[in-house]
Structure formats: C-alpha cells, structure tokens
Symmetry: C2
C-alpha cells in the first residue's frame, strides 16, 4: 500500500492525476498547502508526495520550486493531466440563480471569459482547491452558490454539472511531480534508463556564465525542457536556475554535463532523475 500526500481534497486535480500515476493500492492524505505535503514526505509520514509544479497557462508554481530547494526531496516521477473545469451546483440551481462562484484562484482566472459572459452578476470567492469548493457547495446547501471544479468532484459530492469545459483556453495542462524522501531514492531502479533529470544551478559569478553553463548541455546535444529562474534569498538580483534536461543524471552524457558544471565553479544540486511522464486527458 502506497501512502501518499497530496495538496487538495478528493476530486481535486491532484487526486485525479495521482490516481492515474499510482493506479492502485494507494492511501491518500489530503492537505491544504504544498508545505504540508513536503513535510509529510520529509518526516517519513508518507511514502510519496504529489504536487503540481507547472500549468501550461499559469506557468511555474514558484512556491513548489522554493520548497524543492528547502526540503531536498527526490523527484521520482512526473505525470501530465489535461485540466477541464466545470460549473457545479446543487441540483435545484439554475444559471441565473447564482450569486456566488467559489474556486481556486487559478481556476477562477482560467474561466474568466465564461464568468464574465454568463455570470456577470456573481461574486467570485477564492478557495484552497477546486474540490474543496465543491464540497462546500454541498455543505452550505444554498442554491445561490456554485463552484468551479472537476467533473469527478461534482460526481463525488452528488452535485449537478451545470456546464462543462468552461475554461477559456483548452490547451490547459498541469505537470505534477512525485516526491520521495532522499533516504529512499536509491530504491529507484535502472537509473541509467530514466530519461529526465531536474537540477538547481547556482552559477559562479562571471560574465556570460549562464551561456557557458547551457553549453554543457548544448554541446552534448542534451535537450533542455525547462529553464526557470528564482531569486537567491539574501543575494538581491542574483538567481538560481532550475533546469530539466533529457538524460539520466548517471548516464554517461548526464554525468559529463554535471561534472563540467561543477568543475567550472557552479553549485549543482540534483533534484531527481525519472522517466518522462505520460499525459492523461
């Protein structure tokens, strides 16, 4: 039985994506914040943490990038999920009854065009997660309130799906990562066959250093999937770079690139090597 900790309640996109990833024999701990998920994995309370790290429209979730560096957990996997938002309500609610719409702030933003057009009168309220907002609709038992959540959350709480696919842009995908305590990271088998690695790079201080560092990958034809900068706390206007590249950290190419970076005076932290994730729609 895998013990896993996720941000969000049953029916949340975290829950849906983690069911695709872990398939079966899983016991969930539902948390309000990313920090609690990291703490659960760090303390050994659960085997795995499962958190969103990036959405194709919203961009990177900076809090998760910062927590990755703070907690030094191991990224053991990733998975991609198509995000489809629905307007859900009590069974006796009609569109023109709705005075309040509740959801996660990102979900509210992603459905702004629908809300502006069909529910201009409704006030918008922010919640920790979409599924939690759906659960509240049931609890409040007030037909003037609706939530934006997954179809699964509507079903779970016996709510009506007033309208589906209300997101403005359909190219809406979220990337989730699977976290392990570093003490367990060596359990991961066949590291050389894993196809992706995530690192944090604190660059040496000299002109053109980012260009030089990216050369360690380009010159070995290692594909970079992502470059994300974050401030270094206490060193104003200096940045760390989070990179994802397509090679295992202990493959010949990966090892050589990482060694070149260290030899050139950069500080390299490997966050994990893992198989490239599958997309579920």
């Amino acid at each position: 039985m895998n013990q896993i900790s996720i941000q969000g309640q049953f029916g949340s996109f975290h829950h849906i994506a983690s069911k695709y990833y872990f398939k079966k024999n899983t016991a969930w701990t539902c948390r309000d914040t990313f920090k609690e998920v990291f703490k659960d994995v760090d303390s050994g309370k659960v085997d795995y943490g499962f958190v969103a790290i990036e959405n194709s429209l919203f961009g990177s979730i900076n809090e998760v990038y910062d927590l990755l560096l703070k907690y030094k957990l191991w990224i053991a996997g990733e998975v991609y999920l198509r995000i489809q938002h629905c307007l859900v309500s009590l069974p006796n609610t009609a569109l023109n009854n709705i005075e309040e719409v509740h959801s996660h702030p990102v979900a509210l933003a992603q459905c702004e065009e629908f809300l502006d057009q069909y529910l201009p009168q409704a006030e918008r309220f922010e919640h920790h997660d979409t599924a939690g907002a759906a659960a509240d609709i049931l609890k409040w038992n007030n037909p003037a309130k609706a939530a934006i959540a997954s179809a699964e959350a509507a079903q779970l709480h016996g709510l009506k799906m007033l309208k589906s696919e209300i997101e403005t842009n359909k190219q809406n995908y979220t990337r989730f990562i699977v976290l392990q305590n570093t003490k367990n990271k060596m359990k991961t088998k066949n590291l050389k066959q894993l196809s992706k690695t995530s690192i944090v790079l604190e660059l040496a201080e000299r002109p053109g250093i980012l260009y030089e560092a990216l050369g360690a990958f380009a010159n070995r034809k290692i594909n970079l999937n992502k470059v994300e900068s974050r401030p270094i706390i206490g060193k104003a206007w200096h940045y760390m770079f989070y990179l994802d590249f397509e090679a295992a950290a202990n493959s010949a190419n990966g090892r050589a690139a990482l060694k070149e970076l260290s030899n050139n005076g950069n500080k390299v932290t490997v966050l994990g090597s893992y198989p490239k994730g599958q997309l579920f729609t």
Copy 2:
C-alpha cells in the same frame, strides 16, 4: 504635471518609490490591480504607469510580465526600493490585544517569523495592498485589528507604529518599472546613452536554441541582468523568455545582438530601453 497611475493607495510602496522617481509635479491615480494601471496608460488617461515587477525575495511578478506582452507598452525607466515592513495599529492597541493582522499576502509571508513569534494568536487576512490595509485599520476603529504596512502609511493615517522592521530577511528590495504608451516612446532622448534594455524572445524551434540565443549577448560581452521564462499560451510546454541586458536597443552592440536574434528565426519584441535605476533605502 505628470499624471501617473500606480497599483496601491497613498503610503503604499508603489507610492513611496514613485515619489523618489518622479520627484515633483505629479498627480496620482491609485488602482487596486496591475491591469487597471496598464489600461490607464494604454488608453492615454495618464502619462505614466508605475508597477512593481520583481522583489528580491518573492521573485518576478508573473502577472506584470504577462501584461507587458499583452499591452505592448514601453518601459521608460526603473527604480529600486528597500522594503521595510511595520506593524501598525490604533493608538490604544497593545501587541497582546491583537486578534487580526491585515496586509498584502507577500507582506504577510515576509513577516511570517515575527507573526509566528509575537502574534501566534492573530488570524491573518489578505488585502490588495499594504497601505489600503492600514487605511482600513483607521476606518474599522477596532483595537483588536492591526496591519503590516510602511512607516509612511502609518504616519499618513495617524496610526501607531507598534514595531518596525518586522520583515524576516532584510535583503528585501523591489524593482519598479515606469510605463509609457508606445506612441510617446520617441520622446525619450539620447537612447544610445541608456544603459538597459528589456525584450521578450519567442525562440525558433530547434535543439539548443536558448544556448544559441544567449550567445548573441555573450559573444558581444553584453551583460544579462535577468532571464525569466513564461509559458506561451496555447502552446503547452513552450516558453517565452524575458531578458534584461546592459545596452541600449539602438547602440551598435544592442542593434547587432537583436538583429542576430531575428535573423536566426526568433521573434523579438523590445519592451523598452532606459537608464539603469537608482536604489532608494
């Protein structure tokens, strides 16, 4: 008289920084959101917009990066401000009376250690801006409520400064940018002597393209101040890069670098050239 639009109320860090930048003869329009500031400049309602783009601890403000691309305004200047947070209240409030602390979510996060240690009993509430929270303390006239805001906001509203410099990390600086309508951008004089340029780069699709693109700067010894990635909406897992570099867009070096980028099939949008900003503490 300069007509300028800022995010936040009088006494906010936007207001303080804009007073340093514009010095005198300024009329302010105070807005709740960044989007309203961009709209004010775009429509010609004001001469300048003034918005925070990055904090040395929080990182980049993604919403502002996205609005820069959407509104195509011109960045005409920048300024840096040291951020110092204070706990402010009605004159008759003592620390152990406080049941609620109100402020901008970033200010609340930056004072978390102080709040955890001295006000563990107080509930935290999020506001649009720090100075607006201070104004509410006066309006509510309830000694159980306090705000986190600037010393200037406390003074402006006749509030008591219960404690100053309550931020966890003192290396707390915000970078603000000055926005003009592009129709007015040619008023900027001596463009060749301006020392900084901001661009957005939508890269051609081939392996190693980011490395190749940064070479346009590295090979001319042009210093890069900032690299920020943002998703391209509708093209999942493809990114735009916002770059700040130390050269005017129409200097010999700047022109050559930008031309190389375009010639190599990348889409380049210049957001502005401007003098490197001053730091006020």
